[in-house]
């Protein structure tokens, strides 16, 4: 079983990359980071391909490999990594996001680049650990450790007034996760009381949590749910998000919107579903409503936003609302459509923020009220941006459409009301995304923008290839959805 043995490289290689980045000279950090992450992406895809592109569900199920290594015997937690058709996608997306985030240019490669690169690789490591681990203690450790690089990225390279944003981000997430920790400990202590050997492996805890009775189960569930709800975030647990997205440097924003938010989605799918099926069933109505409200509410806020980063931040809440709607159908179809959609959202939001970072690189201010008519100066960039916008309003043919369509299709029988509510989010989505694009792209060019286009200004070279490939993915998978939907 060669895959099983090589699973641990998902964790070791990023750490190795982190160490290496401390030895590489400052000047070539960006090159190094991009190449290393590309290499890692290639390896990841190679490893995961067996599972990702396995023809049928049975094959995928058979290929889902687990690799165990007892880590803390006294605490009964083991390094138990599992690569299956769920985690495989997130692992690949993680590597891809790293590539995109590293390929941005900016202050982080001028001021203290070594720190930035090593933080990035640590993030890669932490996220992989979180996505692969089946052991809840290990998952918690990874989940929590992801904050550390985030804090520093925002804090060191963010814009002014970042400190408050960092505190809010950290404290709210930390509150959520520590309550999750308490719930986890509660389960473990139950285990101790029951006399069975302590084990924080998911399967053992599932056996345990099914024994919990009403109120207790609900409270423990809330502990877990809150952590992930804050992470995603679902309204009303979103209030930390705006400032962080605004003030964070672009790579951090890319990481947060593209993959960190998925950590919450993944947590619900991988851990909350199996642990508390009946509690979820009990709360389902409310949860669906929450998801639908997040869609609408965030869309309205995005419609009102004047800063593109803020707008995209809210739009990403809105789209994740769709994802959670799919998850909370609590049906296999709904969940796999949710995964489909979250893959799409990862690609598209990463793409959007990346292109936005390119605009900012050109030293254009980023204010929808003041910046106009850029499409004439950077035609290629803005064509790409337009395609990304179309994808994010889920135009049919894109991956996002397939996801959103299937999510709503499966949510409709469960709760017609919430589905309709969320459906209106699609209209609003079109409204604010068009506003976003038109304000920046069209109209009379803002003062000081020269009409003539010099080639260097525009998207080109490696970046162009990257963007092109991403767009290709969005459309290719938009039609080849079967890749995601095996198992149902």
């Amino acid at each position: 079983m060669e895959i099983s043995d090589s699973l641990s490289f998902f964790l070791t290689l990023p750490l190795f990359g982190m160490v290496l980045s401390l030895l590489i000279p400052r000047g070539v950090q960006r090159i190094y980071a991009i190449f290393a992450s590309l290499l890692f992406l290639a390896l990841t895809v190679y490893e995961a391909s067996g599972i990702l592109f396995a023809g049928s569900s049975e094959l995928a199920a058979r290929l889902s490999v687990e690799h165990q290594l007892l880590w803390l015997p006294q605490l009964g937690s083991r390094l138990s990594l599992k690569l299956d058709s769920v985690s495989a996608w997130f692992v690949v997306l993680n590597a891809l996001t790293a590539v995109i985030a590293f390929s941005t240019k900016g202050a982080w490669y001028r001021k203290n680049p070594k720190l930035f690169t090593s933080l990035g690789f640590f993030l890669l490591f932490g996220l992989n650990a979180a996505f692969l681990s089946l052991d809840l203690v290990v998952f918690y450790l990874a989940y929590e450790s992801v904050f550390i690089p985030m804090i520093f990225m925002v804090g060191v390279w963010g814009e002014r007034q970042k400190a408050t944003a960092v505190f809010r981000f950290f404290l709210m997430s930390f509150l959520g996760s520590i309550l999750m920790l308490v719930s986890l400990f509660f389960l473990l202590s139950k285990q101790v009381k029951s006399g069975a050997g302590v084990s924080s492996h998911l399967s053992d805890l599932v056996a345990l949590s099914s024994g919990l009775e009403g109120a207790e189960a609900k409270l423990v569930f809330l502990g877990f749910f809150l952590a992930f709800a804050i992470k995603v975030p679902l309204v009303p647990f979103h209030s930390w998000l705006k400032d962080v997205y605004n003030l964070a440097p672009f790579p951090a924003t890319i990481w947060m919107s593209a993959i960190l938010s998925k950590l919450g989605v993944y947590g619900v799918i991988r851990f909350v579903e199996p642990l508390f099926p009946q509690v979820l069933g009990f709360f389902q109505g409310g949860l669906l409503f929450l998801a639908a409200v997040s869609v609408i509410y965030a869309a309205l806020l995005a419609y009102r936003a004047n800063h593109p980063k803020e707008l995209l931040a809210y739009s990403s809440i809105s789209h994740l609302g769709f994802v959670m709607l799919g998850v909370f159908t609590l049906k296999a179809q709904g969940i796999s459509s949710a995964i489909l959609l979250s893959v799409g959202h990862t690609l598209v939001s990463a793409l959007l923020f990346f292109l936005l970072s390119k605009v900012e690189e050109k030293k254009e201010g980023l204010d929808l009220l003041s910046v106009h008519g850029l499409s004439r100066r950077y035609p290629v960039l803005f064509v790409a941006l337009f395609v990304a916008v179309l994808a994010s309003v889920s135009l049919p043919g894109t991956l996002n459409f397939a996801g959103e369509f299937l999510v709503l299709l499966n949510a409709y029988p469960v709760s017609a009301f919430c589905t309709i509510l969320a459906g209106f989010g699609a209209v609003l989505g079109a409204a604010y995304m068009l506003k976003f694009y038109q304000q920046m792209g069209f109209g009379t060019p803002s003062s000081g923008t020269s009409e003539q286009v010099t080639r260097g200004d525009d998207l080109g070279g490696f970046e162009l290839v990257l963007v092109f490939v991403l767009i290709l993915f969005v459309f290719y998978f938009g039609f080849q959805t079967s890749v995601f939907l095996k198992g149902n």
């Binding site: 009303p236 296999a332 068009l434």
Partner: protein, 615 residues
């Protein structure tokens, strides 16, 4: 694979032109309109040829209603849902395909003359994209694929309306069109959900043969109809079409007269059996259709922009078609779609040629007496005029007369609807004559600058005019191309079609005469008015409304509650800290006192609480 190929050809054209556009940009030159135009036109002509071949082979196979199906791959397969990506060509979609590719290629040809070099490659790319999407819409074998085309044409029309993106007004018009269509699309989306929930399939063939429970059929039908009102600019979602005239005139001809706006009719005709299952739906369709027809006809009488007049007349004609679908004889509706495609495209192109000749003037009160200077345009325009009035033997006569007749005698026909349509026909005759007279007759009211450059359009523009003129003349001679089992005739019983013919011709003549009397001599300008002010109302209610709700959310809920909660929690902790600090006075004896109090409290707890002394 013929059908697939004919669908993909325009896409190929799109990519070629797009590539041409960027390569020209890289070389910092403007693309040549001829090259771009030829690429686009050839793609469409080839598609048209293929369509004809496919149509003939369809006729040979005789499978008019089953149609030829081509499955490409499985698009979405999840649980019981299985969406095949495939095309189906039958009689209905065949007609639409022929119209789209045929009229489409003529308009491509016309555009070569109409557009100048700047951005031409982009223009033709968009035009090809539109045709590709439109073909998906009519040929798609399942609802999701129709939806793909449905939103795709919306996108293309967005791009083309906003083609001259320098003007923010154009962009806003484009955005308006896109958003209103999005609202309609929501209807289609939810119709799909209902269909899947109850019928368990999204394939059009299975769906139209499925019989729903009455209330489900009603919900499904109304949602579909909502989508159609969006695309086909019916009440309540019609206000985008007049603004859409911001785009280049050929675009208005192709998208906003001939093809895209008729896709609503296509969908209704396609799902006719399901629609028929709910009288409510049919009634709503007929009522809305008639209402829209009348309303926009009235509005058209108050327009002075030549394109706006034509736009409102388009809406009105679409109303006719909807009535046809509503009273239960979609075939006449489809018939009118075809003829209307011919003469309305013709009228728009004619108008385009006029505008072209007058270097951009669009106000009909600044024209006049162009008969002599633009002879070819004049004669072809005359054909279109006659056709829309419904004068025999022009094509419009047959289809419109068919609708009038059906509105009376068809399964769900009624006198009221007939009366409304008849009056609308009268108005149509009136405002079209008004337009016709003001543009081509009387003495010229051109400004000096314009008058010098007045010239007949080049051959590439007039050739399509001639073709379309012929079609507008002869398009109706062979009767309705489609037949449905539209059931027994109900309505008001048998009425002789000849009687209706006489009536309609008389009405048209009366309207035309009135228009002639009112405008032949007069030259005083009228200002444009919208007697119903629907647009303003929408702007206030929906535009402002959304703004207000959004700002309420962001200002009161977000800033006022959520962000405030964060600040408060921080402040509360801080307060607590400072509170606890106040006991840290620095006096050892103070500390000792508090410690002693704590000790005493515990001791008392022990003595009285645990050991219960003193009680």
């Amino acid at each position: 694979m013929m059908i697939t190929l004919l669908v993909l050809l325009p896409l190929l054209g799109f990519f070629l032109n797009g590539f041409y556009h960027f390569s020209a940009q890289a070389r910092k030159t403007e693309p040549s309109v001829v090259v771009a135009g030829v690429i686009g036109t050839i793609a469409l002509f080839a598609a048209f040829a293929l369509a004809v071949v496919a149509w003939l082979s369809l006729g040979k196979s005789g499978a008019w209603d089953v149609g030829i199906e081509e499955r490409l791959f499985s698009w979405m397969k999840l649980g019981t849902l299985h969406v095949e990506f495939g095309y189906r060509l039958d009689r209905l979609s065949g007609i639409f395909t022929l119209v789209i590719t045929g009229v489409g290629s003529l308009i491509h040809l016309y555009s070569i003359g109409y557009m100048e070099n700047k951005g031409s490659a982009r223009y033709f790319a968009y035009l090809n994209l539109f045709c590709f999407m439109m073909l998906n819409l009519v040929l798609g074998s399942s609802l999701p694929l129709v939806f793909l085309g449905w939103e795709g044409v919306g996108l293309a029309s967005y791009l083309l309306i906003g083609f001259w993106s320098g003007e923010m007004a154009n962009i806003m018009a484009a955005q308006k069109a896109f958003l209103m269509n999005r609202v309609g699309d929501l209807g289609l989306l939810f119709a799909m959900f209902i269909a899947f929930k109850f019928a368990g399939t999204l394939d059009l063939a299975d769906l139209s043969s499925y019989s729903f429970k009455p209330e489900v059929a009603t919900a499904f039908g109304l949602l579909i109809f909502l989508a159609c009102t969006g695309k086909s600019a019916q009440i309540p979602l019609f206000t985008w079409l007049p603004d859409a005239m911001a785009g280049p005139t050929p675009v208005s001809a192709l998208i906003h007269a001939a093809t895209m706006v008729t896709s609503g009719i296509y969908l209704l005709a396609r799902l006719n059996p399901v629609m028929g299952q709910s009288p409510t739906v049919l009634f709503v369709i007929a009522a809305v259709g008639a209402g829209t027809a009348l309303m926009s006809a009235i509005t058209a009488c108050f327009q002075s922009d030549i394109k706006k007049v034509l736009a409102y007349s388009t809406i009105s004609q679409l109303g006719f078609m909807f009535v046809a679908c509503g009273v239960g004889s979609p075939e006449t509706g489809v018939f009118h779609v075809m003829t209307h495609a011919f003469f309305k495209a013709l009228l728009f192109l004619g108008a385009g040629s006029v505008i072209h000749a007058l270097s951009g003037t669009q106000d009909i009160f600044k024209m006049g007496g162009l008969r002599s200077s633009l002879p070819l345009t004049f004669w072809t325009f005359t054909a279109g005029w006659a056709a829309i009035l419904g004068l025999p033997p022009f094509s419009g006569f047959f289809s419109k007369d068919g609708i009038l007749h059906e509105s009376l005698v068809a399964a769900h026909g009624s006198r009221v609807i007939f009366a409304v349509l008849a009056f609308t026909a009268f108005l149509t005759a009136f405002y079209m004559t008004r337009l016709y007279i003001l543009v081509f007759f009387g003495q010229s009211r051109l400004s000096e600058g314009v008058r010098k450059h007045v010239h007949e359009s080049p051959i590439v523009m007039t050739l399509p005019l001639l073709f379309l003129g012929l079609a507008a003349l002869a398009g109706g001679w062979f009767g309705a191309p489609v037949r449905f089992e539209s059931g027994h005739h109900g309505g008001v019983g048998e009425v002789s079609p000849y009687l209706i013919m006489v009536i309609s011709v008389f009405i048209a003549a009366a309207g035309a005469f009135l228009g002639y009397r009112k405008y032949f001599r007069s030259n005083h300008s009228e200002k444009t008015r919208d007697p119903f002010r629907v647009d303003e109302i929408y702007t206030v209610v929906f535009g402002r409304g959304t703004e207000m709700v959004a700002s309420f959310c962001s200002r009161f809920i977000e800033e006022g509650v959520f962000q405030r909660i964060l600040q408060f929690s921080g402040a509360a902790v801080d307060l607590g800290g400072n509170l606890f600090k106040t006991v840290q006075t620095g006096s050892a004896q103070g500390y000792l006192l508090m410690m002693v109090l704590a000790v005493v409290a515990l001791v008392c707890g022990l003595i009285f609480g645990v050991h219960g002394y003193g009680n």
